[in-house]
Amino acid sequence: MNVRKLVSIAILLTAAAALVFSGGAAEQVEVEVDPPGGREFDWRQYEGTTLVFNFPNHVHYNAMLEAGVLEDFEALTGINVEADRMQYMNMHDAQVLEMSKPVGDYDLISMVVMWKAEYALGGMIRPLESFFDDPSLTLPDYRFDDLVPAYVEVTGIAGGENIYKDGPGAQLYGVPFGSETSFMIYRTDVFEEHGLEVPETYDELTETARYIYEEVPDTYGLTMRAASGHHATHAWLLHASPYGATVFDENWEPAFTSPESIETIEFMKKMIDYGPPGMEGFTQDEEFAAFLQGDAAIYLDASVFAGPAKDPAQSRVHDRIGFALHPRQRTPLAETGGFGIAIPENSQNAEAAFLLMQYLTLPEVEREIVLAGGAPFRMSTVEDSSLYDEYPEFEVLADQLEHANPDWRPIIPEWGDINNMLGIAINQALTGAKTPEQAMEDVYEPIRNVMIRAGYID
């Protein structure tokens, strides 16, 4: 054996030893992180199960996908999750049809809050109390009380005397995930350049929108959704709440012909005048786009829009925006809405689905989703001042949640029908096809008939 061969062998042996020992050393220094809930909780009790999760193409759920938490859940539990993502307005039909079968394919669904009472009273989703009472299924440190109370009520509580609100007989059917309140986002550059004050009342908002429309070149006032049907009703409710208008009075008689309601529509008509062209046909996507493209200087709607508004990939104005409270008029009330997650009654994997529901709403997982652009739903996140530099909207959100109104819209099971009828009438008023008074008067009897048929009034 010559010297060269000996040297080669020595080098190879040294390299091999280095690889072996370095690997060993790495193993020794690796710190094992406790899974959420600690080591005692059996995350793998439903290993091998496949869950189907139906959720929307929505800011919060997109952040969930981007954060990779579904993959983390699969690795932690050995449960396979099949994602069924849809446009949110199409989810209702698919869910109702799926949940009407004896055995359904969905194990976990995301539901818009306005479907909650319909699903709960129709026996389509499961009450969650028995799951939360089962120590083998519930994490000891889940911290349910940390979930934003107004969001819990609006997304999860149903079925009692008050139908969609908390009260005698009501149960928990869902937990917030993608929930929202409303606040204002405005263009700081426009406001600073023109010496505008951030509006605190609707009168001030009207005046500010008018000023921007008339004085700021190529910029419009408020962006608002207003398309016929759901979008117009949503916008009306958003502004009707501060104006003190409601859909029904305390006896379930229609109340939307009130002066406050007409005043709300008159305000919306002014916003159409001062807003981007064609705003009377805007859906939510177009409402968003008008702000993201820099066409409109003010946004006043769901708080979940903060993520896209700050995202440089989506927003042309991401570096010039400020956040403020929803203006008040007669009341300071803001909306509550968005999505919650629930387990269908006909799911064959309800326990495993509960693990996923719980995992997605854990404090540490919520934090990951929020960092990826999702909407916070735990008070500990909203009130964490260390986040305020990067997430200034949380500071506003913490104040806004004090005025978040879980009774913002009457989400009785018949709401889908009423929502559509009211939205057509409001849109007719906004486009000038009818006067506000005439539009509301024309839809009064049809909506009253819905309430008679459903047994609320005689």
């Binding site: 009407s100 016929s228 064609g278 929502n419 486009t431 000038g432 096809a433």
Partner: protein
């Protein structure tokens, strides 16, 4: 002998027809019968597991008392008659212009029929973008000559016209194709004889070509009429029936009644009325085109 064989032949004819007839009965008549039956019931999607409740003619009374439903009938008839008339006219004119053979004609014809091949949902979204008041191409180009911006899909006076234009864009090529096929069936010897007799273009068109293709035009009109009455996807994606109910044709009204209001009995009643309306209009069209044919 011949006489006695007829019943046997008849029986075997029925036997051969039976499988096709039973399948047709199953897939066509059963759903139609069920829809008709359900139109006399109240049945909500919120309680699909509970049996429907018989309500007699209440659904029909409710529909004919509803301003929105009456408007949707008016919108449907306006939409259908407009698109059928304009598409027939444009399709025929284009087929007459392009019936000859010249260089690049095949490629041109292929390109021309592309709109029919595009999925309706894409057509709806595409036109929605083109009509967009701020970012749409139509307002963009109109801006160069100082016009607009117009809310093509949000203005109640413009929305139905805008939707009609989109339908014409998609379906005129269909009429063009059928009429072109009809024109190519005009016998050459008749055309040559007419030329020898010294007829000009318009005389040939009026006395030879149009009479020859009248049956094709009739059947095309019926097909487009039936199809336009059932239009849903393109309009739904463009306007969702709005603004107000100004583009809410009956199929959108039906869809919303079933899936938004979740009233399957009432939606069935809309479907029955829609079916009757199509049957009436189609039979008038067919009868007229047959009359033309007999002449």
């Amino acid at each position: 002998m011949r006489k006695s064989s007829v019943p046997g032949r008849k029986n075997s004819a029925y036997l051969f027809l039976a499988p096709a007839a039973s399948i047709l009965l199953l897939v066509l008549m059963v759903p139609i019968f069920n829809t008709l039956r359900l139109s006399f019931f109240e049945w909500t999607m919120r309680a699909l597991t509970e049996p429907p409740t018989f309500v007699g003619f209440r659904n029909f009374r409710e529909l004919f008392g509803s301003a929105n439903f009456q408007e949707s009938i008016r919108v449907t008839i306006t939409f259908s008659l407009s698109v059928v008339a304009i598409e027939l006219l444009l399709g025929t004119v284009l087929a007459l212009l392009l019936e000859g053979e010249f260089k690049g004609m095949r490629l041109f014809r292929t390109l021309f029929v592309l709109p029919i091949m595009i999925a309706p949902v894409v057509v709806g979204i595409m036109w929605r973008f083109m009509y967009h008041p701020s970012y749409g191409k139509i307002n963009y180009f109109l801006g160069f000559i100082g016009l607009g911006p117009y809310g093509w899909l949000s203005n109640p006076d413009l929305a139905l016209r805008s939707v009609i234009i989109a339908d014409i864009w998609q379906w005129t090529p269909f009429v063009f194709l059928l009429v072109l096929a009809g024109l190519q069936g005009v016998p050459k010897d008749v055309m040559e004889a007419a030329t020898v007799d010294g007829t000009n273009y318009f005389q040939t068109l009026l006395y030879i070509k149009l009479p020859f293709i009248s049956a094709v035009l009739g059947i095309t009109a019926v097909l487009r009429l039936i199809d336009s009455f059932r239009s849903l996807v393109v309009i739904y994606n463009m306007t969702g029936g709005g603004p107000g109910v100004s583009t809410e044709i009956m199929s959108i009204h039906l869809f919303k009644t079933a899936f938004t209001s979740q009233r399957l009995g009432l939606a069935s009643a809309v479907a029955v009325i829609l079916l009757l309306l199509i049957a009436v209009f189609a039979s008038v069209f067919i009868r007229n085109s047959l009359k033309e044919e007999r002449r």
